[in-house]
């Protein structure tokens, strides 16, 4: 894909951190590990890069140390560029304190957006994991001469399970008719993927309008408040997606990748998901290892049994140990003669020999970063 200098990408790296408070205790949404070797921000960044967007602003909020460490200069995404490239936009609110919503954040980084020569802005959050090419979305946005184009997918929505979901309704002309945040319904709905394309001049107008009225929420003030006034359109994305809005959901979302069809839809050969390179050795399987239905990242050393699990980079599983239905984050060490099932271990957890840990598939046991058992 050649570079499209007409488009600026903006990633909100710290939206909805509170949904997965366990995982964001020492990190931000964008730096939550996912899928064996990735961080959530890798997905929007890779989507931008593969869509030809090479000027990207990353809007951070709090706890962004691990995010900075992950992103570095942006080189692993090919975003260490002279023209464009990745720019980190740390929090700075003119109204004092940390910004309060998307519009407030945009107002505070407007200098960066203004400076760009792009005509269109694509905004994306980190809590939706999907692989999408933005070019067809952009094409539709231009053809329809829309003010805003929202990207959505059809999926089953259940009020009891899915938190903070924005459900959209469109008329026959794909024009936005209604916006419901956390509606008390169940069934197949249009779910907003927290991605949209906005014409830059139009975005400037709504951001300065909102600032003068002290309004912060993009969803409430713009999508709900101005849906009849502005031309807000929908674009349906058909690829695999998953939303992360709780620790249970995080567990399920990772394990969805054990379905080869879903895995292949996310990790497309033509749009590989880019991430920080770890330079780990290949996975080493020992003499009595036994592996079924699992996703295993480089640098793992497995002597025992692993079933139905996701192992991130550098995980060690000792002899005669059984790991079942688990999500083990980077550099987790499980000793020998252990039995662990339905467990999420955060980075650098150590489980010594002969331990039995059991969670439930609907309520997995979470062990915090660096925990020693």
């Amino acid at each position: 894909m050649s570079v499209n200098y007409n488009v600026l990408g903006l990633v909100f790296a710290s939206m909805h951190d509170s949904y997965v408070s366990e995982l964001t205790k020492q990190r931000t949404m964008g730096s939550i590990p996912f899928g064996g070797r990735y961080r959530l921000i890798d997905f929007p960044l890779s989507n931008f890069v593969h869509s030809g967007v090479s000027e990207v602003g990353v809007i951070t909020k709090s706890n962004y140390g691990s995010l900075l460490d992950h992103l570095g200069s942006g080189r692993d995404w090919d975003l260490a560029r002279k023209k464009g490239g990745m720019h980190l936009l740390p929090p700075y609110s003119q109204t004092g304190g940390i910004y309060k919503g998307r519009l407030d954040a945009l107002n505070n980084i407007w200098g960066f957006v203004e400076h760009s020569n792009a005509k269109y802005v694509i905004m994306s959050s980190c809590d939706v994991v999907t692989t999408i090419n933005f070019n067809p979305v952009l094409k539709q946005h231009m053809e329809e001469e829309a003010d805003i184009t929202l990207v959505y997918s059809r999926d089953y929505y259940n009020f009891d399970k899915n938190k903070c979901t924005t459900v959209l309704e469109f008329d026959a002309e794909k024009r936005l008719k209604d916006v419901l945040v956390e509606p008390q319904i169940s069934g197949e709905c249009n779910i907003w993927l927290e991605m949209c394309i906005i014409t830059k001049d139009f975005l400037k107008k709504i951001v300065s309008d909102a600032a003068s009225r002290n309004q912060h929420s993009f969803t409430r003030e713009i999508l709900q408040g101005k849906k009849d006034e502005y031309k807000i359109m929908g674009y349906k994305h058909d690829g695999f997606f998953t939303r992360i809005d709780s620790i249970q959901d995080y567990y399920n979302a990772n394990r969805l990748l054990l379905d080869p069809e879903k895995k292949n839809a996310l990790f497309r050969k033509d749009m590989p998901v880019l991430t920080k390179i770890g330079d780990n050795g290949p996975v080493k399987y020992g003499l009595e290892s036994k592996i079924k239905d699992s996703l295993i990242a480089d640098g793992c050393i497995i002597e025992g049994t692993v079933i139905n699990s996701i192992l991130f980079r550098g995980v060690k599983v000792g002899k005669d140990t059984v790991v079942k239905d688990c999500v083990l984050l980077q550099s987790t060490k499980v000793g020998s003669n252990c039995s662990i099932s339905s467990v999420i271990t955060d980075k650098n957890v150590e489980i010594s020999n002969e331990k039995v840990l059991t969670g439930s598939e609907t309520y997995p046991l979470y062990i915090g970063k660096g925990g020693k058992i």
Partner: protein, 408 residues
């Protein structure tokens, strides 16, 4: 503007590797895959970075496309530098005409201008076809301590194998008194590893002399050569220069032949072999393809193997090394084999004691190689080899020792 570098490394990567046959048909030997996610050249390049050598000239000649592309700007090895870094040095044309590299010494001779830009004290000369982890800075220290003109890294080999190597004869202070290439009756078991440290001033003098002498012989129709071992080292010994042997202890393997390439890979599966690819303080770096983690399916049965990113395994894998992006379908069996990147082994195929090159396909029920136990006469047994981009059709058989470079 170039700032001075104390040490510059020159990596000889032009070799064809003709004894790797089908595997080096389209790629230079240093670009041959090894160990699940590496290429041979990753070892000297990573050693350079880990030893603090940040200026490396890579001399290429044979089939350079893949190798050049792989080295790129040197970023994976941290060798993308404003001053120094890795530079690919192919043969070039001058006003006097164009010439290929006529031997290892001539390759360095033709690139003396590259070295002199950095005004080094010492030049490290490396090969691109050995597997080892070595701190070159310690060897340079040894060279300096001995006030040596040339230091040659040596490894103690079993007496029975000594006649396969260039053998160094040393006194008690490790000063080299004689050098014999592949002696019939070895007088020592210290084999040259093809790694040299030279005091640049001295090397420069001998490169120019060798060049002049060899050209004069050529003009007279006499045999001539421009090689390190044969010419430079021999001349320096003749002139009573100070040559020292630096004894290396650790894993070192020449992968010049198909058998040794297979063995060197299998060594990674042996707990007694001291080559640790997981040491965070001495990482072996390689160019990464951004593959997702490997997926192991419901029917998989994996034991004692090394498998890389992007692979999909649903068959039986035992004592094998699988590179990135390999697919082993359910019902396929891979034992004691090396499967290079992007290759697919289809259901019912059996691959044993074999090397299968990159992006090849072994169709259903085909059979590649065989266990030595199944062969009556042990002399008929050997590794079976399928080259790069080769399809072995359904139910076809590749016998042990057979080398397949075209579709069958």
């Amino acid at each position: 503007m170039y700032t001075k570098k104390r040490v510059v490394a020159m990596l000889l990567a032009g070799g064809q590797g003709s004894r790797l046959y089908a595997l080096t048909k389209n790629v230079a030997k240093p670009a041959v895959p090894y160990g699940g996610k590496y290429r041979l050249i990753d070892f000297p390049l990573s050693n350079c970075t880990n030893s603090g050598i940040d200026t490396v000239g890579v001399l290429t000649q044979y089939q350079p496309l893949v190798l050049n592309e792989y080295i790129g700007n040197g970023q994976p090895w941290d060798l993308d530098k404003m001053n120094g870094g890795v530079h690919v040095l192919p043969p070039y044309e001058t006003q006097a005409g164009a010439s290929w590299y006529e031997g290892t010494a001539n390759a360095i001779y033709q690139n003396m201008r590259f070295i002199e830009r950095y005004d080094p004290e010492y030049v490290v000369v490396l090969g691109g076809d050995h597997i080892y982890k070595m701190d070159y800075s310690k060897m340079v220290d040894f060279h300096v301590e001995n006030n040596a003109d040339c230091t040659i890294s040596v490894i103690d080999v079993p007496k029975a194998e000594a006649s396969r190597f260039g053998i160094m004869i040393c006194d008690e202070q490790k000063q080299v008194t004689d050098f014999v290439e592949k002696p019939k009756v070895p007088k020592s078991t210290l084999a040259s590893m093809g790694i040299y440290v030279f005091t640049w001033e001295k090397l420069r003098k001998y490169l120019i002399e060798n060049e002049e002498e060899a050209n004069a012989k050529r003009d007279k129709g006499e045999p001539w050569s421009k090689d390190f071992g044969k010419d430079i080292i021999t001349s320096m010994l003749r002139d009573k220069q100070r040559l020292f042997a630096y004894e290396f202890e650790g894993y070192w393997k020449d992968v010049g032949t198909l058998d040794s390439l297979w063995e060197a890979n299998m060594d990674l599966l042996s707990p007694s072999v001291p080559l640790d690819l997981y040491d965070p303080n001495w990482k072996i770096y390689s160019r990464n393809n951004n593959y997702p983690p490997q997926y192991v399916g419901d029917n998989a049965d994996i034991e004692n193997s090394m498998i890389s990113e992007g692979s999909t395994i649903d068959g039986t894998v035992d004592f094998s090394i699988l590179f990135s992006g390999v697919t082993i379908e359910a019902g396929a069996t891979v034992n004691y084999s090396i499967i290079m990147p992007g290759t697919v082994i289809r259901s019912g195929a059996v691959v044993e004691y074999a090397i299968v090159g990159s992006d090849s396909v072994i169709e259903p029920r085909a059979k590649v190689g065989s266990s030595p136990e199944n062969i009556e006469n042990r002399d008929d047994w050997g590794i079976a080899v399928v080259g790069n981009n080769v399809t072995v059709s359904a139910e076809k058989v590749v016998e042990p020792k057979q080398i397949i470079g075209e579709n069958i």
